[in-house]
């Protein structure tokens, strides 16, 4: 891996390496969600979710669309979707739980 790739990949992993952000990404795999919906799932404040979302947007992982009062977020990088699938595959028990 070239040094530049190492830097970029490390930055991506760092962005994904916070439990709240990783959980947000898992949630967004299935459907787009607004800040308030995410807040209920991850049990923190709106402001905190918003901060984490802005980190994810800055990294280019998540993008948003606005509809009335709500801002709906989705994963905007196919490679990240694949990466999360691989992480599930490697580190999570299979099963339909």
């Amino acid at each position: 891996m070239k040094d530049e790739d190492v830097r970029d990949v490390a930055a991506l992993l760092k962005t994904m390496s916070h439990p709240i952000r990783l959980k947000i990404l898992c949630l967004l795999q299935e459907k787009e969600m607004a800040v308030g919906d995410i807040r209920e799932e991850v049990k923190t404040t709106n402001a905190n979710v918003s901060q984490h979302l802005s980190i994810l947007r800055n990294q280019g992982i998540v993008s948003s669309r606005k509809d009335a009062n709500f801002i709906y977020n989705r994963i905007d990088d196919q490679r990240v979707l694949e990466l999360i699938a691989k992480l599930r595959d490697l580190f999570c028990e299979e099963g339909d739980g």
Copy 2:
């Protein structure tokens, strides 16, 4: 992904998300290496490499064997090897460089 898995995977990603540690892991994909060999590749101090290695060992990613004065390090988790292969596949240009 269960909350426990989210925590564990986030911790793993965090461990891998430092450029020096990610580079060490890339180097160790090909062969085991002593601290001094790694230091030459990543251009920092022995103490710094040693500290990063101890983080990788604590996470269970790397293990070591001692031979005379040297401590040879290797990746000790097949899943991490697979994960790095996937990262290369997704985020690095192919080619034999």
